[in-house]
């Protein structure tokens, strides 16, 4: 029996008759938590968030409470709150569900957070392609302002904070928080170097800024509602709360699912929740946390020791679906995007597809990333177009190794990790591609021959 979903953030989103307007939200208890928090001390809210242990849902999994603590409150400069709604990590489609179906939940989570950090202005940076999402949010903000839930003297308190929806324009790098801030300042989204430009100290307009993902900020409302300690009981130590997983690729029932962290494994997610692999095919590989995460191979064993000392010996199917599980297996849960590949998948083609993405999206500021990502793409494109060489596997690895750790932002790793892992785990296929072509297979595939037929 499949483990049941535990829908906290998505509790109402897909309920028949649930609409994104404020009336509906209030009928379902909306804005009561904001009302409650405005009577609390801001530092008590921060303390609840710290106690909850909630980790960022955007990619890095950094504890939100810690980030709030790092905010420079002594500078005398205004503090800003920025919601990262760029949702651009390939495979991820969870924030969309909340913004389109339950926008007020995000606004309430943001207003509570803004009050806790004493921000007077909050931004939602939404990816440019979500025109409709931006309109839904704009409208929800208007409703919330009319209802007194944001703007001047919120709910007749002394606290005022406004909210602005800002649209990106199709660049993945705007998801990286400092690139996002540059974009929000009206500049090219070239990420900033950390240190010194940690958003908590030198963020938007060089002021202290808290940047969090949509899902993370929605959690704040529920943390306040149940208390940090109760919240921390959901999930597992260091992996608290629920997470929304986006499953795509070769599964019978792809989709988004909210589960208590660690309540099930990747195997249960793929086979029980998503109905397994179509057409009786077999699992070949899984990317456990968005295309930047290292690929896992179906017949691989993952062995080691967890932080608490327990030894583990897992296959993909045994990896706990949480933050630490995929990390222990040498990859990461990233944005919670699980991309499944069956045994018909040509790994060189999959690699070529991923490399094309990173070559297109590099901001171009750092030479190893700009040139490296481009060369990775050139090599794999040549391979799928009939020009594969046996030494390409090593060439790819050497290019990727020269990017990792040598760039301004983590995009460099995001581009290098897939290559390092694909080549290490499927090297035989990369070499076989060259041999087959030498033996007359010629152009034995072309970019995007992917089909399910």
């Amino acid at each position: 029996m499949a483990v049941a979903e535990k829908r906290i953030l998505l509790k109402y989103a897909d309920e028949p008759g649930y609409t994104p307007d404020i009336e509906c939200y209030k009928k379902h208890g909306g804005y009561q938590m904001l009302e409650k928090t405005l009577k609390m001390k801001p530092e008590d809210i921060s303390a609840e968030i710290m106690t909850s242990g909630v980790r960022g849902r955007g990619g890095a999994g950094f504890p939100m409470g810690m980030k709030m603590k790092f905010l420079d409150r002594k500078s005398g400069k205004p503090i800003y709150l920025v919601c990262n709604a760029d949702e651009s990590e390939p495979g991820t489609f969870k924030d969309r569900q909340i913004m389109y179906k339950d926008p007020h939940q995000l606004i309430e989570g943001m207003m509570i957070t803004a009050y806790a950090i004493n921000a007077k202005l909050a931004f939602i940076y939404i990816r440019g392609e979500m025109q409709e999402g931006a309109r839904i949010l704009e409208n929800a903000i208007k409703e919330a302002r009319e209802g007194g839930y944001l703007g001047d003297k919120i709910l007749d308190s002394d606290y005022s904070c406004d909210m602005v929806v800002h649209r990106g324009a199709g660049a993945y790098i705007c998801g990286e928080e400092t690139g996002l801030l540059e974009s929000l300042e009206g500049k090219r989204p070239n990420p900033r170097i950390k240190p010194p430009f940690f958003p908590a100290v030198l963020g938007l307009y060089q002021c202290p800024t808290l940047v969090n993902n949509v899902e993370t900020l929605c959690n704040v409302k529920h943390i306040v509602e149940m208390g940090g300690e109760e919240y921390a009981k959901i999930g597992r130590p260091n992996n608290t709360g629920t997470r929304i997983w986006s499953v795509s690729g070769h599964v019978n029932k792809p989709g988004y699912f909210e589960f208590e962290c660690g309540a099930l494994t990747y195997g249960e997610l793929i086979y029980d929740v998503c109905g397994g692999i179509p057409n009786g095919r077999k699992l070949k590989a899984v990317i456990p946390g968005g295309s930047s995460a290292k690929v896992l191979r179906a017949d691989e064993r993952f062995k080691g020791k967890l932080k608490d000392g327990t030894e583990f010996d897992w296959s993909i199917e045994d990896i706990p679906l949480d933050f630490d599980g995929p990390m222990a297996a040498g990859s990461m849960s990233g944005s919670g995007a699980v991309i499944v590949m069956d045994d018909t998948t040509d790994m060189v083609e999959a690699m070529a597809n991923i490399n094309a993405f990173y070559a297109h999206e590099s901001c171009g500021q750092c030479t190893p990333c700009r040139e490296g990502a481009l060369w990775l793409k050139k090599v794999t494109t040549r391979m799928v177009n009939g020009g594969a060489r046996e030494e390409d596997a090593d060439l790819l690895k050497s290019i990727a190794d020269q990017i990792e750790g040598r760039t301004i932002c983590a995009f460099g790793e995001a581009a290098a990790w897939p290559v390092q892992s694909f080549v290490a785990k499927f090297k035989d296929e990369f070499i076989e591609k060259a041999r087959a072509q030498a033996n007359g297979a010629g152009k034995n595939g072309k970019m995007g021959a992917f089909t399910l037929a």
């Binding site: 990590e89 991820t92 489609f93 649209r167 324009a169 300042e185 009206g186 998948t345």
Partner: protein, 161 residues
């Protein structure tokens, strides 16, 4: 360059939302492109003056962001997601089908000026891929098998407009 009065009003309302004028530039570019179809050199100049920037500060955004363009396109903008999850489910074949059905080459505009087809990177709807974003509407599960249906729908849409 003359912009419609309502558009200028919208723009004037947008700018003061930001602590610094320059922040509004991307939103202004969206507004102008939605109205005019693309960003002309005159539009760059106009926006720069409006926000007290150098034209290069605006131009360098137009050349950076994939959604901004310097040339007009067809009446209907067809964007096919080509990133891995969509590709695993046939996005490339879907794209080929759409190209032949709409008589339009990838990256170009059909001779009748009706369609422009482009590949785009993941648009956050991977669970229902392949996805095709047409103007502002998301079409989901567009497998090669049912791409013709979508093409017919788009052709009818152009005819009735």
């Amino acid at each position: 360059m003359e912009l419609k009065t309502e558009l200028v009003e919208e723009i004037d309302a947008l700018i003061p939302k930001y602590p610094e004028k320059r922040s509004a530039v991307l939103m202004l570019l969206h507004k102008v492109q939605e109205d005019q179809g693309y960003i002309s050199p005159e539009a760059v100049q106009w926006i720069a003056e409006k926000l007290e920037l150098q034209p290069i500060n605006v131009q360098e955004l137009v050349t950076f962001y994939p959604m901004l363009r310097q040339e007009p396109i067809g009446k209907v903008h067809v964007k096919v997601c080509r990133t891995l999850p969509c590709a695993l489910n046939g996005a490339y074949a879907t794209c080929e089908k759409l190209q032949s059905e709409l008589n339009c080459k990838l990256g170009g505009t059909s001779p009748d000026g009706n369609f422009t087809i482009e590949f785009v990177e993941c648009i956050a709807s991977c669970g229902t891929g392949p996805v095709v974003h047409v103007d502002e509407t998301m079409h989901e599960n567009i497998r090669p098998e049912n791409a013709t249906e979508l093409a017919d729908q788009l052709k009818a849409q152009v005819k009735s407009s």
